[in-house]
């Protein structure tokens, strides 16, 4: 019984995997290196119509057109960065799922570090004031301080 259930689940998984692998984008480039870059690029470009999907995952017409652009430009020998630039020149940096470092968003990248530093500073000051307070306490025996 158990074994049968396992088999059924396995079969279902296989069917689902096959379905997802066939997907909506059936593009296969002859060169496996180009194909890998194609897959990577289409997964990091945003579908502007559905916005939370990549152009690789979107069934929208425009996404297909943009995938087509990626394929053509790869075949024409363009670099990944050239293709990203081409896309963001038309649709803005919003089309890139991975935002770029720039002076405009430097504060966003830097903020966590700055806040951590600030927290450490405050921590250090509190600890210091407390130790000096303890040291000044005449009622406290010496050993307590050392422990």
């Amino acid at each position: 019984m158990r074994r049968r259930a396992q088999l059924a689940i396995g079969a279902a998984c296989a069917v689902l995997w096959a379905l997802s692998a066939s997907g909506l984008d059936t593009t296969v480039l002859a060169d496996p290196a180009l194909q890998a870059r194609y897959v990577a690029l289409t997964h990091e470009l945003r579908c502007m119509q559905c916005q939370n999907e990549s152009i690789a995952d979107s069934p929208v017409d425009l996404a297909a057109d943009l995938r087509n652009q990626v394929r053509e430009q790869l075949l024409a020998g363009k670099s990944d960065e050239q293709i990203r630039n081409w896309m963001s020149a038309r649709y803005g940096e919003f089309i890139l799922f991975r935002p770029r470092y720039s002076w405009r968003n430097a504060w966003l990248w830097g903020a966590p570090g700055a806040l951590l530093l600030l927290g450490a500073l405050i921590c250090w000051r509190i600890v210091r004031t407390r130790t000096t307070l303890l040291a000044q306490d005449p009622d406290l025996p010496e050993e307590d301080l050392r422990s």
């Binding site: 502007m48 425009l62 652009q69 963001s88 038309r90 649709y91 803005g92 940096e93 919003f94």
Partner: protein, 178 residues
Amino acid sequence: MNRFLIPLGVFALLAVVLVIGIFHSPDKGIIVSPLLGKPAPTFALPALLEEQRTVSTQELKGRWYLLNVWGTWCGECRAEHEMLLKVKQSGTVPLIGMDWKDDDVQARAWLVQLGNPYETVVVDRDGRAAIDWGVYGAPETFLVNPAGIIVYKHVGALTDEVWTREILPRLTGAAVKS
């Protein structure tokens, strides 16, 4: 007292920042085009209504025009059509249509049935010109100045409000200056 002052201050500051953020994002979800203030992308596309004629951005230069991206498959385009006809009637600025990934026969029928607000309609069958213009959803309308620079872009149906608040002032402002 002092213990609560700092957290309270931080909270007040945060509240102010968030309120400003909320009230200053009326165009939530609208992506600002990187093409604003830049030369309009060039194209040379066949005209929908005149056989054998190719229209290029080069010949559109030298005067103001509105480029309106539409398609018969687009519901919002039907909604804005009335407004486009009004713009045509006003005679303020010529409308150039870009028929985006559409069927020519249906597009011609649409213009006969609903009226033709366009001076010229170019056909972008494979959608390449639209991508060059950063179009991501019809209807979209671009205002281009005589130097061929895109000065304004509107995503979605053109309305009376957009026309009087965004487009007219740019046209008349330019007329006063020159």
